[in-house]
């Protein structure tokens, strides 16, 4: 039951719910009041009809006395006709004291009256007068009234008042049709009136709920429009006060929301402007850096060349005036000039690896390793070099930069293993975990693992200049290039036993766009 009610509440609109409930109530009320009203009216009409029937019967009894006295039906004829002319009178019968029928008119089946209402017949004991008519039987369709007929008291000065003599009975049957008709009429009239009022009230309620739900529906439509992204949606302040208040609340909420949206878009514009400003600043800074490195490359070289050139001129033109120590000192000057020049080149190279845009292409790393070894071969001095390059997978990257990576790693390997009797260098790779790890392994000087984190720093050197030459930029360049390719670099080593330098490059996934890693 509860479930049905809950479903009813959920399924229909408020207006429909109210309408159905009220309609049901009002129709029940109309029906009830009609029934009660018509019952009451029925009772009243019934008692009136009964009274009327008694009256008619009594009248007939009085008028039948003469006919019974003389046993002459003709004498009662007129009275019987008059009685029959009353509405509802079905039949009339006059009987004598011995229950013989003197006169009978109309058709009534005596068997119809199964219910004997009153058996009493005879005189009114109290008054001694002629008895009143009684309702002696009733059927669903009719009433039967019976009244005794007494002889007329003879008013004679000679005789005493004689006791009236029972002459017979009159019986009048009155149909209930009138009552039934009237009851039905009253019931129908009541019903029509009630239903008319019920309909009127329903229309009134419908009008009122319309006035309430119309603005609510309108509000809901407006909210839908606002939700769909329409701007400047406002509800009309219409309908009952509470609904209008709600519409007002909706309007102020929409105003606040629009203000917020405007604020956010303003913030966005500001943010974009600031990003653009910062980008400009960054670009300017980058330009400045470029012009700085341009100056470095151009302006620092010129004085160096002069130092070197004039030292050489001294050595050539004034050789006779210089002793051995003087010559040695000038050569120290020239060595340092050359070193300074190398440093400048390395700095520029390092900054270039950070600046240049990467051009991604498929690189055959194995082929590249072989090529770099061939390029480096002429510089190899001393050691008996054994190179092993395993089959290694290709990668997507900037080929010039990857070339640089191999040049730096392999030249390091050659350099640091040059003191060995047999220098062994191995290039290999392994794939897994979404990346390919390449390594260059040598059996050279190695390094102390506690300084491993310093290896890839700019100008970080773990060996003295006299031991192995170099500026300490090579591994920093390697790290920068690999980082720009999205990979990592690290190293393992042991003093005197060799070192292994690793770099990893992410394996490209199918849906990943080629390149564009910075």
């Amino acid at each position: 039951m509860n479930k049905i009610f809950a479903a009813f509440l959920l399924k229909f609109t408020f207006q429909r719910q109210l309408g159905i409930t009220l309609a049901l109530g009002i129709f029940m009320l109309a029906l009830f009041s009609s029934v009660v009203g018509s019952w009451q009216a029925n009772q009243r009409v019934r008692s009136n009809l009964l009274e009327q029937g008694q009256h008619i019967t009594e009248n007939l009894a009085r008028q039948s006395a003469l006919a019974l006295t003389y046993a002459s039906a003709d004498n009662a004829f007129e009275a019987v006709n008059a009685t029959l002319s009353f509405p509802g009178v079905d039949s009339v019968a006059i009987r004598d004291a011995n229950q013989r029928v003197l006169l009978q008119r109309g058709n009534t089946d005596p068997a119809e009256f199964s219910i004997q209402v009153d058996q009493a017949r005879g005189t009114d004991k109290k008054t001694g007068k002629q008895a009143v008519a009684v309702l002696d039987a009733e059927s669903p369709n009719a009433w039967r009234f019976t009244a005794p007929v007494y002889s007329q008291p003879v008013s004679s000065p000679f005789s005493e008042v004689a006791t009236p003599e029972l002459l017979g009975h009159v019986t009048v049957v009155v149909s209930k049709a009138v009552l039934t008709q009237m009851a039905a009429g009253i019931f129908v009239a009541n019903l029509i009136t009630s239903f008319s009022f019920a309909l009127l009230i329903l229309f009134l309620i419908r009008f009122l709920t319309d006035r309430m739900t119309q603005p609510l529906n309108q509000l809901s439509v407006n909210m839908g429009r606002a939700e769909a992204g329409e701007s400047q949606v406002r509800a009309v302040l219409d309908g009952p006060k509470d609904i209008a208040d709600m519409a007002h609340a909706f309007n102020s909420m929409m105003s606040v929301l629009e203000e917020r949206a405007a604020e956010i878009s303003q913030l966005n514009i500001d943010l974009e402007r600031r990003v653009a400003e910062r980008t400009d600043e960054l670009e300017a800074a980058n330009k400045e850096l470029e012009s700085f490195s341009y100056s470095v490359s151009h302006d620092l070289r010129t004085p160096l060349r002069a130092i070197d050139g004039y030292s050489l001129i001294l050595l050539e033109d004034y050789a006779g005036k210089l002793d051995v120590e003087g010559m040695r000192l000038l050569n120290v000057v020239r060595d340092n000039t050359s070193r300074m020049s190398q440093l400048i080149d390395d700095i520029l190279n390092f900054s270039r690896t950070g600046r240049l845009e990467l051009t991604f292409a498929e690189i055959d790393m194995e082929k590249l390793a072989h090529r770099v070894f061939e390029e480096l071969q002429p510089g190899v001095v001393g050691a008996n070099l054994q190179v092993e390059i395993e089959p290694i997978p290709p990668l997507k990257g900037d080929s010039a930069m990857m070339h640089q990576v191999f040049v730096n790693l392999l030249s390091n390997a050659i350099k640091f293993s040059s003191a060995k009797e047999v220098a062994r260098i191995k290039v290999g790779a392994s794939t897994g975990g979404g990346e390919t790890i390449y390594y260059v392994k040598d059996n050279g000087a190695g390094f102390d693992m506690q300084y491993a984190n310093k290896l890839f720093g700019v100008f970080q050197r773990l060996h003295g200049v006299t031991e192995f030459d170099g500026t300490g930029i090579g591994l920093a360049i390697v790290k920068r290039i690999i980082t720009r390719h999205g990979g990592r670099v690290w190293a393992e080593g042991e003093v005197g036993k060799g070192a292994t330098f690793y770099f990893s490059i992410p394996t490209p996934t199918r849906n990943q766009p080629d390149g564009n890693m910075q």
């Binding site: 341009y294 490359s297 151009h298 302006d299 070289r301 010129t302 004085p303 160096l304 060349r305 002069a306 070197d308 050139g309 004039y310 030292s311 050489l312 001129i313 020239r334 000039t337 050359s338 300074m340 020049s341 080149d345 520029l348």
Partner: protein, 151 residues
Amino acid sequence: MTDNNGIVEILLVEDNPTDAELAMRALKKNNLANNLVWVKDGAEALDFLFCRGTHAGRDTKCVPRVILLDLRLPKVDGLEVLRTIKHDERTKHIPVVVLTSSKEDRDITESYQLGVNSFISKPVEFEAFAKTVAELGMYWLLINHPPLAGK
């Protein structure tokens, strides 16, 4: 530094006197510096080539066989000098060798776009520098055949 005949073989455009001296020393060692003119900025280089300003009295037909041009120059920048030379009918046939300390890609690219005949980055070590200068002097003066000058 022109000789008596007014013949100019090399025009050296170089603002740095030490670089100029080193270059001239290297050329002189190979006997290539006899007809060499040294100007110290881009404006003077253009004045010399188009015989105007301090070089107004010069014979326009006497153009150098090769111009050694530095890029970073006072007044008129080396690339601008190159552009002017290569855009002028009178001078566009003269071989221009950019001789600079710069190794910047953009300098190289732009020089070639402007029509430079050769781009040489000066080595810092004097021996290498001297060798380079001597070789390029030899090439442009002795090996290379220029079109007939002044036509």
